[in-house]
Symmetry: C2
Subunit: 319 residues, 2 copies
Amino acid sequence: MSKTDVVLGVDIGGTNTAMGYVDRNGTLAASASIPTEAHRPAQEFFERFHRQAELLFSKIQDTHNLIGVGLGAPNANYYKGTIEQPPNLSWDFVDVVGTLKHWYTIPVVLTNDANAAALGEMLFGAAKGMRDFIVMTLGTGVGSGIVSNGEMIYGHDGFAGEIGHTIVDYNGRPCGCGRRGCLETYASANGIRRTVDELIRTTAEPSELRGIKFDDLTSKQIFESAQRGDKLALDAFDLTGKYLGMKLADSVAHTSPEAIIFFGGLALAGDYIFKPTKKYLEDYLLNIYKNKVRIVPSGLPPGNAAILGAAALIWNELI
Amino acid sequence: MSKTDVVLGVDIGGTNTAMGYVDRNGTLAASASIPTEAHRPAQEFFERFHRQAELLFSKIQDTHNLIGVGLGAPNANYYKGTIEQPPNLSWDFVDVVGTLKHWYTIPVVLTNDANAAALGEMLFGAAKGMRDFIVMTLGTGVGSGIVSNGEMIYGHDGFAGEIGHTIVDYNGRPCGCGRRGCLETYASANGIRRTVDELIRTTAEPSELRGIKFDDLTSKQIFESAQRGDKLALDAFDLTGKYLGMKLADSVAHTSPEAIIFFGGLALAGDYIFKPTKKYLEDYLLNIYKNKVRIVPSGLPPGNAAILGAAALIWNELI
């Protein structure tokens, strides 16, 4: 019996690193997760990672053949195979592909997590068959992956696709990047918390969210309040959709995508975020783009989306 | 003796239409220009155009072989081969490629003038050898052409690359597109006239430009005043560069180009526009992009740039 080809998809996160062996159809043959322990040296992490990956593969090696490794990580560079000053990891600069090449003779490719998500959607998810689309990862921060002409846009330096750091308001909220008013400060899980906080401070609107301290407030609570009809929570979603729609109108004017796919925690709020974003996007779009761009949710299973994205990265190179 | 392969490059403008036979190296074998007369039916125009093109080719046909036709026009659609509601032409909808196919059995391709300019820079001008760059056409309006991974970005609908219609200020100047605050209302020849007008009305700065009525004011006069050290004219260039630099920082966050190439009338002001744009671009760029993106002038001869761009469009399909 011939073995099934699989790739190893790896998502390196600030807290945990998830890995899984994925075949050409996006089926997961085996998966595991280890703590990243990013406060410890990167070399230690990669040794732990490799042991776990080998152990996991030993369970399926009789029926599967490993042909590549794809990794997604914050601030990863596709061209160099490196992670550079990642926001949630203490590692300053890590030659990821160089390190893994000590163990693997098969192709090893790295990109940032949002680009991996975009490739995952293209191969296995909501962007199947699309050649021009944008994936927005609306999580703790806001990432993006842009595909045009069926190809990932990496840009000259490998860092293209930072729509989360286009600017909504030049005098706006301080951003972790050191500037002000980035989309990320409005359209992320943390951004909607800040919007609720602003609405509490600047309006008299009664809200069940007024009883919660800022540090205790979560985007999930805002979503649940919105579901119960809390006007202030609904207003926060409306404003979040407005900022997102306004800036996505600029993005459409760059690459004119068929669809924009929302991925990540905030996207799970469904219509509460999709409806206002769509409305304001249409309001702000240049005429020629109106009523052409769909906004759709991720088509990847939430639990394994990041692994499938990293696997898609390497499948995309191999097929 | 074998004949030299040439393509016919055509730039359809609001007033004149320029055409020329161009070889693989960007050498112009013959060129001509006819009035567009866009108030008359499009069919008449194409018949006049075809007669002129045939006449012109008769002079070089003993030594040249025609292998394709490339056209650039406002609001042209690459996929459909059509012009749709062009801003400076009275034609509502014209099937350009369909019309020319009555006369030509060789490949005929159409795109908008800014995309043609970008392809011209890639094949014959300042973007030779580049795979990731943006061309900004700073003329009466502001157009743009975006190249990533060595390919023109046309987008899902063929209308990608309208950076001139990304928004500087949502409450800003009315734009011809019906919205407010588009980059085009600031960074075009007309935009800098409006900036001078605003400075005259809102500051006490003495200026030789105060003596000129708005309708008589030209961007060339503003340039000449700047050259003579007129503070208000210099301030107008500084503001124009600021708006341009701010928005181009957003563009870099999309496609991370190696260079941004300025093309068109306003770019002829040289350092008066390049220096402030570069300064503000760097000020507004996300850290990872700083000091990486060059801003350079067009490398095409101004008189024939549009013809060479249209020729590059079809050469790019043939080679």
